[in-house]
Amino acid sequence: MDTNTSTQQKAAAPVNMIQALNWALHDAMEEDANVIHFGEEVGDAEGGGIVKISAGLSTKFGSRVRSTPISEMGFMGAAVGAAVVGMKPVVEVMLMNFVAVCMDQITNHAAKLRFMSGGQTHVPMVIRTMTGSGFQNGGQHSDFLEAWFCHTPGIKVVMPSNPADGYGLLRSAIDDPDPVLFIDHLNNYWTPGVAPVRGTKIPLGKARIHQPGKDVTVIGYSRSMLDIPPVAAKLEAEGISVEIIDLRTVSPIDMDTVLASVKKTGRAVIVHEAVKSFGVGAELSSRIHEALFRELKAPVERVASNDSPVPYAPPLEAAFLYSHADIEAAIRKTLA
């Protein structure tokens, strides 16, 4: 990896998500001395993060980048405090399940201080974390928990699916005056993609039409954006035209883009890795039904993971996650 050599950001050379996020951190830190970064193992002495997203940053930016003791409540609260006086902390929670030990600082503090102080203070911090099944990490290291935070007013939730979006969204998340939870997925860290252009920021709250289509809208974000396109390609061969939307920001949802698409196609399918019940898909589905009930040709379908903890053994992990066949079946169901 070319750590921090942001001069190398040429649209031509493909890079992976790790590189893109590393560049985003680097560029933000270089431009604004208020940007600081901490979390377990993020310093170069500790390897620059477990997948090296922070590589080179402590070497270049010194004490603005710090490896922390294992004390998520402590350092999450420290991020809140620093943000209240205008620092812009990017704090890493190594894996998403560990938010469970520091929810209080995120949901009772970061998300609420602007409101509770009557706007006197605000909390411009980013919480970066990663997750995903498929690595035999078992029940306590694999969950997608974005719905908890989507249900928490005051915080935004961003979940990129590719390197260029990752860069652009992380830059915007760092600029944002309010707390942003930024969730990576482990499944495509090393997959090359189009490189970001230095300084190109992608606004939060704007979805991306990944592929236009006419017959059905399939909405994904994060990991499911790896799975929807191949299914769509298969159906394309049969003459089924799929419009794919990558939400990118999961809260607030870009309903304008979603509704415009579903108004056109009359059909919608939502795909996410988080367990199905009470997930993000439920909110999207209800909003689409509420807004377009008369225009819908079929009920909105949800494709998501099994309502269980994430299992360890590979065949069970496969059974936990939705399959491509599930996506295909859901699309066909809306067309039936």
Partner: protein, 326 residues
């Protein structure tokens, strides 16, 4: 690090803050009993000399984080009584526009940064404020208040460890009033002195009589000098008592009668006033003038609060994010 005996001017300044806290508290409770105000109110009556002494050593640049039982801390640090009262009354003119209430008092221009209702949460946030000053090369210090009960929650441990390994300029002030809600100290806390827990973090731990303004002042002075000069954090345990229970309405059945009587007999407020006069730091007339001034200030605060308009309903759509929702 010097142990200065505060001069008369300082001693009187401490008294003035104590008087403001004490009278404001009496008046809030009076207004509640008379039905003019209604709220979950956590009186700190009895604990006033702790913030009064500490904040005399702080400037407006220094940061404060406190808890639901923090009106005394906020007043001592400079939150104007008018804005406090309007906030307690839930008015649009309150420091938090009526959105926060007693558990979330905030007033950044005097360094009153955060008030939390979650036990233990003041400490990690204070570490972050201190981290910001450290990284910016400022000499500000941050004071974090919390109770004796809070010394048993995980956030205490994580914060003291973090403050120590990062040598943060933070002063952790445990206002030990012997009870956590209705639970007595020993039932919840496994150590004789909370100050002793500082040893777990290679940090000085000072144990002082929280009803003695001079003792609190001297401990705070050491801690603040240490923090300002880059020496890192200090834990201060100040032993005190709260006279009005956990919150207004609490009848204190769980407090042994003799313990309560002894605590009231040791009420720091009249004791300190006599001490000031006896030791010629102030005359009775000066004290009377201070009290009269404070009475006027609270009269004005109460009138302001009562006559202020309530917040408009649209305010629930504001301050959720930087932009308005819906």
């Amino acid at each position: 690090m010097g142990m200065t005996q505060p001069d008369s001017k300082t001693l009187v300044a401490i008294y003035k803050k104590m008087a403001l806290i004490k009278h404001s508290d009496d008046r809030v409770i009076g207004a509640m009993k008379a039905g003019r105000m209604q709220m979950p109110y956590y009186s700190a009556r009895g604990q006033e000399c702790i913030p009064a002494a500490i904040s005399t050593l702080l400037t407006d640049e220094d940061y404060l984080v406190t808890i639901y039982r923090g009106v005394h801390d906020m007043l001592a640090k400079g939150l104007p009584a008018k804005l406090l009262w309007a906030e307690l009354a839930g008015k649009a003119t309150g420091s938090c526009k009526g959105k926060g209430g007693p558990m979330h008092l905030t007033y950044p221009s005097k360094g009153c940064m955060v008030t939390t209702g979650i036990v233990g949460a003041s400490m990690p946030i204070a570490c972050g404020l201190a981290l910001a000053s450290q990284l910016r090369g400022e000499t500000r210090v941050t004071v974090a208040n919390f109770g004796d009960g809070a010394s048993n929650i995980g956030a205490f441990h994580e914060s003291l460890n973090l403050a120590s390994v990062w040598k943060l300029p933070v002063i952790l002030v445990c206002q030990n009033n012997r009870f956590a809600e209705h639970t007595s100290y020993a039932k919840g806390t496994s150590v004789a002195k909370i100050a002793n827990r500082a040893a777990s973090y290679d940090m000085p731990g000072l144990h002082v009589d929280g009803n003695d303004p001079v003792a609190v002042y001297q401990a705070a002075q050491q801690a603040i000098e240490r923090a300002r000069s880059g020496g890192g954090p200090t834990l201060i345990e100040a032993l005190t008592f709260r006279f009005n229970g956990h919150l207004i309405g609490d009848m204190g059945e769980y407090i042994p009668k003799a313990e309560y009587a002894a605590a009231v007999a040791a009420d720091p407020y009249p004791k300190y006033r006599s001490w000031l006069i006896d030791n010629r730091h102030a005359t009775s007339a000066e004290i009377e003038a201070i009290e009269a001034g404070i009475k006027a200030e609270i009269d004005e605060a109460e009138a302001f609060a009562m006559s202020s308009p309530p917040p408009d309903a649209i305010e629930v759509k504001r301050d959720v994010y930087a932009y308005d929702i819906a």
